[in-house]
Symmetry: D2
Subunit: 349 residues, 4 copies
Amino acid sequence: MSFSVAVSGATGYAGGEVLRLLAQHPEAEVRTVTAHSSAGRPLGEAAPHLRSLAHLEVRETTAESLAGHDVVFLALPHGASGEIAAQLPEGTLVIDAGADHRLTDQAAWERFYGEGYAGSWPYGLPELLISPDGAKQREALRGVRRVAVPGCYPTSAQLALAPGFAAGLLEPDDVVIVAASGLSGAGKSLKPHLLGAEAMSSMSPYGVGGVHRHIPEMEQGLSGAAGRPVSVSFTPTLAPMPRGILTTATARVAPGVGAAELRAAWERAYDAEPFVHLLPEGRWPATKSVQGSNHAELQLALDEHVGRAIVTCAIDNLAKGTAGGAIQSMNLALGLPETTGLTTEGLAP
Amino acid sequence: MSFSVAVSGATGYAGGEVLRLLAQHPEAEVRTVTAHSSAGRPLGEAAPHLRSLAHLEVRETTAESLAGHDVVFLALPHGASGEIAAQLPEGTLVIDAGADHRLTDQAAWERFYGEGYAGSWPYGLPELLISPDGAKQREALRGVRRVAVPGCYPTSAQLALAPGFAAGLLEPDDVVIVAASGLSGAGKSLKPHLLGAEAMSSMSPYGVGGVHRHIPEMEQGLSGAAGRPVSVSFTPTLAPMPRGILTTATARVAPGVGAAELRAAWERAYDAEPFVHLLPEGRWPATKSVQGSNHAELQLALDEHVGRAIVTCAIDNLAKGTAGGAIQSMNLALGLPETTGLTTEGLAP
Amino acid sequence: MSFSVAVSGATGYAGGEVLRLLAQHPEAEVRTVTAHSSAGRPLGEAAPHLRSLAHLEVRETTAESLAGHDVVFLALPHGASGEIAAQLPEGTLVIDAGADHRLTDQAAWERFYGEGYAGSWPYGLPELLISPDGAKQREALRGVRRVAVPGCYPTSAQLALAPGFAAGLLEPDDVVIVAASGLSGAGKSLKPHLLGAEAMSSMSPYGVGGVHRHIPEMEQGLSGAAGRPVSVSFTPTLAPMPRGILTTATARVAPGVGAAELRAAWERAYDAEPFVHLLPEGRWPATKSVQGSNHAELQLALDEHVGRAIVTCAIDNLAKGTAGGAIQSMNLALGLPETTGLTTEGLAP
Amino acid sequence: MSFSVAVSGATGYAGGEVLRLLAQHPEAEVRTVTAHSSAGRPLGEAAPHLRSLAHLEVRETTAESLAGHDVVFLALPHGASGEIAAQLPEGTLVIDAGADHRLTDQAAWERFYGEGYAGSWPYGLPELLISPDGAKQREALRGVRRVAVPGCYPTSAQLALAPGFAAGLLEPDDVVIVAASGLSGAGKSLKPHLLGAEAMSSMSPYGVGGVHRHIPEMEQGLSGAAGRPVSVSFTPTLAPMPRGILTTATARVAPGVGAAELRAAWERAYDAEPFVHLLPEGRWPATKSVQGSNHAELQLALDEHVGRAIVTCAIDNLAKGTAGGAIQSMNLALGLPETTGLTTEGLAP
């Protein structure tokens, strides 16, 4: 079963990673790549690492250039994808790596993004526990023709905490999450603080104080798992590495909950998953271990001193956090084995 | 006023940074360097960056080799410094960069370090607010002959939160702190995960779940500022950079506390300090800005959504976090201007 | 056609990369992994990035543990592989990633390695021009049962210069090569200068002055291409990155040779190659573009001012420079399509 | 002796480093900082690491804003400094960190820079041997009112090879130099390949083939040392670190020259120098060792196999390679001790 694909935003980091993974997908045939900045030039100039696709000419991103493919990936700024998506046929599988279709709550959308709510699509995080009864998001993705790819931080935060909320082991208020992202998380923007000379050896926070746009998405998912509203304090930081997210997610445990009970809940949630795992005790997640792979590593501890569960999660922000998750959802939507074309081996050292 | 100095642990990272700063101190004369591993060899072999001290022969660390100096720095594993210190004359200024003399509570010491409590010394964090009345630790350091240098994480965590506790603006329970440290924080240990090939591009947590030895030190200092017991959840992570700590410290605000009130408390605490500052609004701390300097950068935000104050703090773990703070305390102990030989300029880019 | 594989030195960087690639090879079934340091433990402890192989128990490296597989990879210190190889059946495909079987000249071997010359095996660099008539090494690898994997520096140096020598455009004496390697090139040795805190932000040379063991290998290959003896000055440097080699190879051009003629020779040599390419004019190789891939990027310039051709080449030292090249040779030896299981897409950014 | 200083290009990397060093210079008083992009804003916004100068308002770069200071530093694009300098009084010490006044040969200037030759100024490399009789450039800098700061690559290349040329031990043709520079060497330009996500883990060449503008400067200095024309092949590469240059400079040795003779020449040249040293045998330069310091580390080897001397040199491109060298020259020009305000201690790890 071979299918044709178009990728917009092909010269950005998300679009580039989608292409890197598609180049290794046995059924995908990349026919069209679009991007504003490099239109008319061969892809190899802007993305020299994509050797097998180097000859493709970059086209402008329009409904016309994207039409006529079985699958269309949108890796565009928010607002832009909603607009383009509305012009694509219903039968085309459209996978939006942007933020336009992630939130079901229009008010939450408008608080963080302003005007232009475009409605929500099936949420592309197959392993997400979506209710206290143990149901997962996977089933909602089979055969669909629209997928909203989760944000990178929400992927790690929800994978980290959903098992505890679904099992009723965590208190829903006062969740505190601090995460460190590699520089590609900030996109290919030409800003001084993202220059290598500045960013190497530097860690810094940004978007502090309840203003990061990924907060409503985290709360949406965790509230679903918990079956009641969960509120999250989230602080993102920029780390001196190209890729990777390390999330430290903490929540107060419900009265009487012990370490073994916690551990059992996470094991139960993920033991059969191909791409999400609780590490054996004594080992901790590292972004290097999942570099370039679709794997999420988790570990947890109970700090009895203060009554908090601390769950850490490492993913590759561009792979499992964006493009890998997108292709995993694509596989489900197309009826392919979910793991097709994806790897669990990280590029290390 | 010139004085003679001996530095033990001279080939480790803490000892090396003490020497780097002493080489630039106008009054210090480094006469003796000691270390077990390189004894009998010139310092330049193990520490090629210390050009002006390269000719010094490394000696074994003994009470004899350290005797006869005005100032002795101990940069040794815990246990070792307590033993050596007991053999040095009372009139010698002994500055312990290790953990042996930081805690006033023997039970807390024994819980985290085991046997061998050696008593506490004046705590070398001059800017620390030590009570709700606004007193600072500075006064307790003038003219002393023993100084316990704070841990690097506790330096940043206490500087971050003490103003809010001293002003009664923060709730004392459920403080959540997540910090990222550069690799030098793990010392010069030959462990695989510290190899450059492994550590570059990787972030990982360690010591999770209330087990890190710096927790009682943070709680000791913050409880002092608050005038009541403060409990802390602390998660350290290792970041792919040689130096620097970025601490994200969050605490629930007391009822009715607003952003302006918070800001005023931190400004009041630090506006006259030479080495600790709240940044102007809109700018965030970065470890690169304080690389090699004795400066601590702070910024804060109030997340009204969840009722938490989020304070971020960047220091150089080896400079302000260890050796710089040690020399600042030394200046106070010797009656020199507190800033002598220290810089507020970071090495950037 | 599925085949069974054993990999020795599985917890080192070369062995780990062989395993990472085998895990993605459609025909390979990894049955046995061996290593001295982790014997008896699951592979996942020492190599957490190899998720799908994490459950394999590491065994001691012996002729017994390696016996009974279709393919055996040796990633061992020199001397060790020669000894083991002698005990493996003739019908087993043995691929030695070490130095034991690379040199045809016993005297050259002994000058650089000392006692213990074990004879030479077919040299695993398929794209290497081996004579002025344009023949390549590829043909010598089909169906063989022993392969000597080239060194990482020689892979890049020979790919860089062989086309010019085979075409008679370069002078055979006074070749000057300077190369920068990522830290994994130094192996997983626990040496202070390889610690992340030391190695980040640092570049340094080593093995300067005609003493590096890869020199005779470079001269062997280039002399073959030239049809007369080529002598090489080689300076390796260590660069602050986990992977990658950037080689700058320069040679004086023969009288009258011009830029177009040079360019044509390299294009002719590599245009049909799947894994080695001369970049379009105006673009330069970058190790990031080939990270994790089996691709070699080349570019050249003629410095008319001094009469030297300057050829730069970027490879991933662990992939094309070691494990990728090994698997490419394995494919040839087994009669599989040469590109099976290998990628031309680099992991970037 | 206190003096007032103005620094143009203050928000760039060269200007920023001049300011970092001036902030630690006991006699300098920075009164004026100028830059186009940040004019009207406090310096602390664009250069947060310069804490003690953070309050200075950035002004436009004009002859007026620079007038009235004892010393003016120009850190401007070529062309711009020549124009401004012509408007400054003869009695002002003007130190040009740009390329406008480095070359004595107008034809060489025009070949590499085009129109606008502005004449040459005393060349700010005090340790440079300027003739076979052992004279150094130092004497030509005492009391001057104009200084041309050397380029960063030429600083390392000339320090590396001048002793051999002055002593008649090296052949003047076919010098081959390959150097690796940290990213700050490319300036604060907002170009995609300089983004941290792209540049980390990547090495790449640029300006290959005799086109780099630093070539005539290297040839000018080495020809002076040799007393006859020296020609240089130079290949620069970009290394994944913020600062530092590692230069590998090789030249054929004259007939009969041996290793001891070579070593003696370099020792003789630099043993009395405060900032340039030949390392003891067995140790190699590392950019980390000289990070932030004004020190240059050298080591050499004779490759008897091919008859080439290989000299490696590590400097900090922004310190000894630009701003440190500039301040060293300033000290000489003002009659201060040459080492005032400069350090030989590198920031390591």
